[in-house]
């Protein structure tokens, strides 16, 4: 008997959980580290970081199969999951229940943010090569506008929260943490990780604004 | 047999331990069962049993024996129960426990992973298997899960939220089915069955609210078949538990162990003393159990403690604040000790009284607990073993052919008083035996229920529907819920812990006056959907009629035996005198003479002027009544 394979439900749910962590979560960590390099200036950022990545062979395949498709599945199936629940954060004011609600809220928020974010950078770059040539300046100009900065800050925090909380619940889903104490302990670990990633991300956002501009005199 | 399918069609009424065991046994024999319950199956009163279930496993190094279990049960019941069924029950108890264990019941364990056993009242050996403090709940769920599995296999069908109203008898008087009411749509419908098993539990609600019983333990179903001609036995024997929490809605049980672990029962010497209990100095407290029974003190048996509390409150007027309550005090005990040993009841008391027994004495009063009496059921004695003959269709058959009874609604195992932790045993065991008996009955049945004439079903359905319509049209001034309350007060006062013939005569008169008032009923609602007042009104009327049986049976028995106590006829055991001494031997002779007159089963049958009481002898083949009950 192998009904868990014949019935796709379980595998789809677990795939959704897994993809959220690897590669999407892993990519987010990498992405935040990558952008935290902004504080070392346009040259370093554009040439050493972005440039190196753009020079990778099969980059498009990586982007497609390690980022775009997993993200599309995670987002699409996530919307299906959201449709199967009804959060009552006010009636049950317990932390985990609020997080349940926030996870879904942040998921929807992230979909909207990512549409803008990917559209303004990666997709726009396809049409305007100067964007990918000097991503640093592109971002610096964009983030200089308070509204865009606020949007990016929100997107960053949503993403970090979604990952950290997703990690905590994935540990329950996969059976890593069973007892309430284990879940609480691991919850703190995830919260710490989330703070760390948030700090890294904010550091990166600010880096675009405070680091020396292209060719500028460091 | 009905349906043209293999096997017969049986109706079991009641989803407690007895009914579910009967269902399992009947299904195991290849028959189909329709299980009727007033509510979702698994919510029955069996779930309330806390302490445990007796079975001799002899795993505690005390050389316990089945024989001793039999003797304890017989003597605990003051010899009033027929001995063959007791023998068979005690012999089968270990096997029953093994079966429960296989079902997954979470019995408490010894360090070696075996079943643990503890000591209970009225016995000397650790013989009680238990599952924490929720043994009844665990046993009930064990069988409930098995029945649910049979349900998925199509062998059992449940009719939940259906109330049994009456049986249907054919022209030969054989039970061929029932009429029941859907408690939602109020539809009254007949159901055919080759046999019917009644497992409808106790009747503590007749004493409401001073009862430890669930609100659905009304005895109405047993009353209905009694009114249709089934004999009712030993109705006067009703156990009052001495220590129940006070409550306007219900009195919740506080286990005997509270006294066993050192709890003291007392009242202020001045009933008008309004001080908080712990501010009352020792000298101004009356520890009446310790005063009156110096050797046993607070650990006197249930019936003695109940009577003492009754005397203090009702006769001496010394209840706290002059009311029906005394203190059960644990505050002098070491807190850690009490918490470990009595944790379960502490939490019930905290939850329901909003007070902590560790810091405030509990307020308690005796409450109606368990009906030893019930529908009369037959048994076939096996001369070879002295027990019941296995598989006999006579076992647990009522006086109506095709109608069986098991569980608390029968009278078979407890005589005049029930031993603690024997009720879960008798409920389970009798359910299984009744199921096996039904299977034998079906194999000898020539014509099934399908052959019964439709006219008897139609007539009974019409009669029951007519009762409903009459009640729905009623426009008097008598509220059924108030009538229930008055019934409880009346029974608690006059057919309660202590009885006298004048009071019982009064009770009989009051009960018929109460019955008359149903002519002027005001139902209070006319809804034709889920009308709970209608169902309740019907139940209360049948409770009043059953109460009449209890009062008449109590009136007829002029002696003290077990839970039935008439002080005017008390033969007191001489204090400080033991077997062999002249005073004790003289007492023994008087006791035996009393047995010669009164050691007999009370039988009630409906008559034109109320219950007709007569008696039948008790089978004493195993243990002759030579030893009076003596817990000294």
């Amino acid at each position: 008997m192998s009904s868990s394979i014949e019935n796709s439900h379980f595998l789809l749910r677990r795939l959704h959980s897994l993809l959220g962590l690897v590669p999407i979560g892993a990519f987010l960590v990498f992405h935040l580290w990558e952008n935290s390099q902004s504080r070392f200036g346009a040259a370093h950022y554009n040439d050493e970081v972005v440039g190196a990545l753009q020079g990778l062979n099969y980059l498009l395949l990586f982007e497609l199969f390690l980022i775009a498709l997993p993200l599309l599945f995670h987002a699409g199936y996530g919307l299906v999951i959201i449709g199967h629940g009804r959060a009552e954060p006010r009636r049950y004011g317990y932390l985990r229940n609020r997080l349940y609600w926030l996870q879904r809220l942040s998921g929807v928020g992230l979909i909207l943010f990512l549409l803008l974010h990917v559209g303004l950078t990666r997709i726009a770059g396809l049409f305007d090569p100067s964007i990918s040539a000097d991503l640093f300046t592109h971002m610096r100009q964009a983030l200089a506008q308070p509204a865009v900065f606020a949007l990016y800050l929100a997107g960053l925090l949503l993403a970090v929260f979604h990952l950290a909380n997703g990690l905590a619940t994935a540990a329950i889903v996969w059976g890593l943490t069973a007892s309430a104490e284990a879940q609480r302990r691991f919850g703190w670990v995830c919260a710490g990780l989330g703070l760390l990633l948030a700090a890294l991300g904010v550091h990166g956002l600010l880096g675009f604004l405070i680091a020396p501009a292209a060719g500028g005199g460091a | 047999m009905s349906g043209g399918q293999k096997g017969g069609q049986v109706i079991v009424i009641g989803g407690g331990l007895g009914g579910l065991w009967a269902t399992l046994a009947i299904a195991a024999a290849g028959h189909r069962v329709t299980l009727f319950s007033l509510f979702e199956v698994m919510r029955s009163h069996s779930a309330c049993a806390q302490g445990g279930i007796n079975a001799v496993l002899d795993g505690k190094g005390q050389h316990d024996s089945v024989q001793q279990h039999i003797v304890d049960t017989i003597k605990g019941g003051s010899y009033l129960a027929n001995q063959p069924p007791i023998q068979s029950m005690c012999e089968d108890a270990p096997g029953l426990i093994r079966t429960f264990e296989r079902m997954g019941v979470t019995f408490s364990r010894t360090p070696e992973g075996l079943l643990d056993q503890r000591l209970f009242g009225g016995v000397k050996n650790k013989r009680t298997c238990f599952a924490g403090a929720s043994t009844g709940q665990q046993l009930l769920y064990g069988v409930d899960q098995q029945v649910r599995r049979l349900e998925t296999e199509g062998q059992v069908a449940k009719q939940e939220w259906w109330e049994f109203l009456s049986i249907v008898r054919d022209d030969d008087g054989v039970c061929r089915g029932i009429v029941a009411m859907d408690l939602r749509s109020l539809e009254v419908r007949a159901f055919r069955a080759d046999a019917v098993v009644l497992a409808t539990g106790g009747l503590g609600q007749i004493y409401a609210p001073k009862t430890t019983c669930s609100t659905n333990s009304t005895g109405a179903a047993a009353s209905r078949v009694y009114q249709q001609g089934a004999r009712f036995a030993n109705a006067e024997f009703f156990q009052f538990h001495p220590t129940a929490m006070l409550g306007a809605d219900k009195t919740r049980l506080m286990t005997e162990a509270a006294r066993g672990e050192g709890g003291r029962v007392w009242v202020p010497k001045d009933p008008a003393d309004r001080r908080a209990p712990l501010r009352i100095p020792e000298a101004e407290r009356f520890y009446f159990l310790e005063d009156w029974y110096p050797s046993y003190g607070n650990t006197v048996p249930r019936d003695i403690a109940s009577r003492a509390i009754w005397k203090v409150t009702r006769e001496l007027g010394l209840g706290i604040g002059g009311g029906d309550r005394v203190y059960l005090d644990l505050t002098h005990l070491e807190r850690g000790f009490v918490s470990t040993r009595l944790g379960a009841i502490l939490s019930i008391y905290r939850k329901f009284a909003g007070q902590d027994p560790l810091t405030t004495p509990m307020e308690i009063f005796p409450a109606a607990h368990y009906a030893m009496g019930g529908l009369w059921v037959d048994y076939e004695k096996d001369p070879a073993t002295g027990g019941m003959r296995r598989g006999s269709p006579r076992n647990h058959a009522t006086s109506i052919a095709g109608l069986y009874a098991c569980g608390e609604c029968d009278y078979a195992y407890h005589g005049a008083n029930r031993l603690g932790a024997n009720s879960l045993l008798s409920a389970s065991y009798s359910g299984r035996v009744a199921g096996e008996a039904v299977a034998s009955y079906l194999s000898g049945l020539e014509r099934g229920a399908d052959a019964a004439p439709a006219a008897s079903f139609d007539a009974e359905t019409a009669r029951q529907a007519e009762i409903n319509q009459r009640l729905m049209r009623s426009s008097g001034d008598q509220n059924p819920f108030r009538l229930h309350r008055e019934l409880g007060e009346l029974m608690t006062t006059k057919v309660g812990v202590i009885r006298d013939n004048a009071g019982l005569d009064g009770a009989i008169a009051d009960l018929s006056a109460l019955e008359q008032r149903f002519e002027r009923l005001d139902l209070g609602e006319s809804s034709t959907w889920a009308n709970q007042s209608l169902a309740h009104a019907r139940q209360v009327l049948d409770m009043v009629r059953l109460a009449q049986v209890m009062a008449a049976s109590a009136r007829a028995r002029d002696e003290c035996r077990g839970a039935h106590f008439k002080p005017a006829f008390d033969i007191a055991m001489p204090a400080d005198s033991f077997p062999g001494e002249p005073a004790f031997e003289a007492y023994r002779e008087r006791w035996k003479a009393n047995n010669a007159e009164w050691l007999k089963t009370t039988l009630a049958e409906p008559g034109p002027d109320g219950p007709q009481i007569h008696f039948e002898p008790v089978d004493l083949g195993l243990l002759a009544p030579e030893q009076p009950r003596d817990y000294r």
Binding site: G175 | G95, R102
Partner: protein, 268 residues
């Protein structure tokens, strides 16, 4: 809980009850307000019982008694669960003295209303069947052999789950459970809910119940099974018996992970 002397208990003589009523499964709900006398130690069930005798609303209109379920009155049968001031809990153990007035009573959500505060919890029992919450016996007869031993430690863990009385509070509080989710694909597709999941944990721990472990795990790996749990964990917060439902869910997460590996890579 704080101890309170009877003499110190607040002298609240009446309390306002706001009850959401519904005459039948398909009719519209409406609210009625009652002012009820409160006796010491009164609970929600005792108030509703008293109300049956004299069911008059605050404005003096005589109305039908409120339909509700109750039986044991000591929080062990599970019948009387309802929404009290917004929280699902057994009404018998909800003491009036400890509730904020006015007290709002509503039927247990997520289950179809029968009438007033009565609901039909058939879904819960259907789900118990779905997950095969029983030990497979050859028959209810004595086989003259006891079940295998269980260590006291294991017993202690199991006992927590065996006290579940199917009151439905955990299901009512679960954001993933409800007739609206998946029921268009039949009851088999809607989320099985915390209580039945805990029973899977219990049955799989029994020495012979283990024989059917894979079957039960497969049942909760299907549509509406364990993976529909959203880990909101309201269940464990509202459970009146403090059953560690989320621990069971975590353990089952581990078991299903292993089961999936077995299913994928063998041995089956």
């Amino acid at each position: 809980m704080q101890a309170r002397m009877p003499s110190e208990s607040p002298a609240c003589e009446t309390v306002e009850l706001q009850i959401r009523r519904q005459d039948g499964p398909t009719t519209k709900p409406y609210w009625q307000t009652f002012v009820c006398p409160v006796r010491p130690g009164a609970n929600v069930v005792s108030l509703l019982m008293d109300l049956r005798e004299h069911c008059v609303t605050q404005d003096g209109t005589r109305v039908d008694p409120v339909a509700f379920e109750h039986n044991c009155m000591e929080e062990v049968c599970g019948a009387c669960a309802m929404l009290i001031n917004g929280s699902p809990r057994p009404a018998c153990s909800a003491l009036i003295a400890e509730l904020e007035a006015p007290i709002r009573l509503e039927p247990l959500p997520k289950f179809p209303v029968v009438r007033d505060l009565m609901v039909d919890r058939a879904a819960l029992f259907a789900h118990l069947k779905r997950v095969k919450a029983w030990i497979k016996l050859d028959g209810p007869w004595d086989v003259h052999e006891r079940a295998p031993r269980v260590s006291p430690k294991e017993w202690q863990a199991n006992y927590l789950y065996s006290r579940c009385m199917s009151c439905g509070c955990c299901m009512a509080a679960c954001p993933q459970f409800g007739p609206q989710f998946g029921s268009q694909f039949g009851p088999e597709a809607s989320f099985v809910g915390p209580a039945p999941l805990a029973q899977v944990r219990l049955m799989n721990a029994h020495p012979t119940g283990r024989y059917d472990k894979a079957e039960r795990l497969h049942a909760i790996m299907a549509d509406g099974g364990l993976s529909d749990c959203g880990n909101a964990q309201n269940c464990v917060r509202v459970c009146p018996k403090a059953i560690p439902l989320t621990t069971a869910i975590g353990e089952l997460g581990r078991e299903t992970t292993l089961q999936a590996f077995k299913d994928l890579f063998g041995p089956h």
